[in-house]
């Protein structure tokens, strides 16, 4: 995939929390030790249960991270976009991936070798502290999700799923259409409900003019009401 125009790490304009504050030398070292890949829409980047041999960093595109339950039902754990890293927990702990990463659209993704990353980590406090910060954020997010799933009713969870998508991917140029195309099944997998319930609840929101369903696109008509329905503060910086 040499024809992909992915810049060297030291020239990358994406905001990456893990590599924030590293020196140009560190970034040059990473550049020399990375591969550049194109993953087509639907292609699996890594599978739950496999061992990592490096770190993935998204240059462009959207990725979903999901787990398969006992009965084969998928649960979307989170989404990731440009500038975000994938697979760091498994790499850090030398254990298998505990979820599967799949490209939601054509994605350009760098793969940094395990040795280059772990070698730098050993000697660079900044990188290690960034990693801890990233994990702290992940833990906070997953705890919040657990509380929501165990306590919130279905409507609140669907409303929150839409807010999560808005936070992760933002709006298109019109400022109100979610910049992500998801199936009803996938929305159900984020909210932890069946596809049928997701369809019914989205249809209710559509009737109530909170959202507008346009084929696979979702237009948010009333963000404040959606936040209210999700029991969240519309001014919450996390939204």
């Amino acid at each position: 995939m040499n024809d992909i125009l992915i810049p060297p790490c030291e020239e990358c304009k994406n905001k990456n929390k893990l590599f924030c504050g590293l020196t140009p030398d560190h970034k040059r070292h990473f550049s020399k030790n990375k591969g550049r890949n194109l993953f087509k829409k639907g292609q699996v980047i890594y599978y739950e249960g496999n061992y990592p041999n490096g770190l993935f960093c998204i240059f462009q595109g959207k990725v979903k991270i999901s787990k398969i339950g006992l009965e084969g039902k998928e649960q979307i754990i989170k989404f990731a976009g440009a500038g975000e890293t994938l697979g760091y927990r498994a790499l850090m702990n030398d254990e298998p991936y505990n979820a599967t990463a799949t490209a939601m659209e054509d994605c350009y993704i760098c793969h940094l070798s395990k040795n280059a990353f772990m070698g730098t980590l050993e000697t660079t406090n900044r990188l290690s502290l960034n990693m801890i910060e990233l994990l702290s954020k992940d833990l906070k997010d997953s705890e919040r999700k657990l509380i929501n799933i165990t306590q919130k009713p279905v409507r609140d969870r669907v409303a929150e799923a839409l807010l999560i998508l808005k936070k992760q991917f933002g709006f298109k140029e019109d400022g109100k259409t979610l910049n992500a195309t998801l199936t009803r099944r996938e929305i159900g997998e984020i909210a932890g409900i069946t596809t049928e319930t997701a369809i019914r609840t989205l249809s209710d929101f559509n009737k109530e003019k909170v959202i507008k369903l346009e084929d696979k696109q979702i237009v948010i008509l009333d963000l404040s009401k959606l936040a209210y329905m999700a029991n969240m503060d519309p001014d919450d910086p996390d939204l």
């Binding site: 009965e71 050993e122 657990l146």
Partner: protein
């Protein structure tokens, strides 16, 4: 967090801000200012988070673990959870933000342990999310036992276990809080498992799983 003996000794020697908390006492509460972390020397701490209508038990923390570290790393001004002593009196060491930063920079092993512990907690939370969402009550119950076993594996009663048996001792409350199953239903479920001789309910504070591996295989 499985801090090594060397670092444990260092923390005890270096920081003299020892505080004792009685059973049921709050070490800190959600929303209170967070200006440092605590290191558990003795005792067991329950970490709770506010939900919509009730608090949710997130973790049980044990000796050699730091608590209150998430606000520290996210640079938050307030605690995002409540820490309550459960069981016997707890002995904790308070470490200020500055001292904790110095400790981590001087001892990279502390950073490694924090990474391991956070990773483990994320994995366990994700397991609980999938379990709450998709699995039957029976499976949720078994997974709650697995969760508590994972958390308690290096501590207290588990050290008493004979080499050939993997015994686990739990309380009905802990099981109910972690599985999200009501106490009433949980009691029925415990009775069923007891009939199958997979566990023994000695009292509300003592549910003994005779053979953990065999129990978990029932999933």
């Amino acid at each position: 967090m499985r801090i090594t003996t060397d670092i444990h000794c260092l923390i005890e020697k270096k920081f003299d801000s020892v505080q004792y908390f009685q059973s049921g006492q709050h070490v800190y509460s959600e929303g209170e200012p967070s200006d440092g972390v605590y290191y558990i020397v003795e005792g067991k701490i329950k970490i709770l988070k506010s939900g919509l209508n009730k608090q949710v038990t997130m973790w049980f923390c044990y000796p050699n673990e730091f608590i209150g570290i998430v606000p520290f790393f996210l640079n938050a001004e307030t605690h995002d959870s409540t820490a309550v002593v459960t069981g016997a009196t707890a002995k904790l060491i308070y470490i200020s933000r500055k001292d904790f930063t110095d400790l981590m920079i001087s001892y990279p092993d502390v950073q490694k342990e924090i990474v391991n512990e956070l990773s483990k907690k994320i994995s366990l939370t994700e397991m609980r999310i999938t379990s709450s969402n998709q699995h039957s009550l029976k499976v949720r119950f078994i997974e709650a036992v697995a969760f508590l076993a994972e958390q308690e594996q290096d501590y207290g009663d588990q050290r008493e276990k004979p080499e050939t048996r993997t015994q686990l001792k739990l309380t009905v409350d802990n099981l109910s809080e972690i599985s999200g199953i009501s106490r009433k239903y949980l009691e029925k479920m415990l009775a069923k498992f007891e009939k199958k001789d997979l566990l023994h309910v000695e009292s509300e504070d003592r549910v003994v799983i005779h053979d953990l591996n065999k129990f978990l295989s029932f999933k």
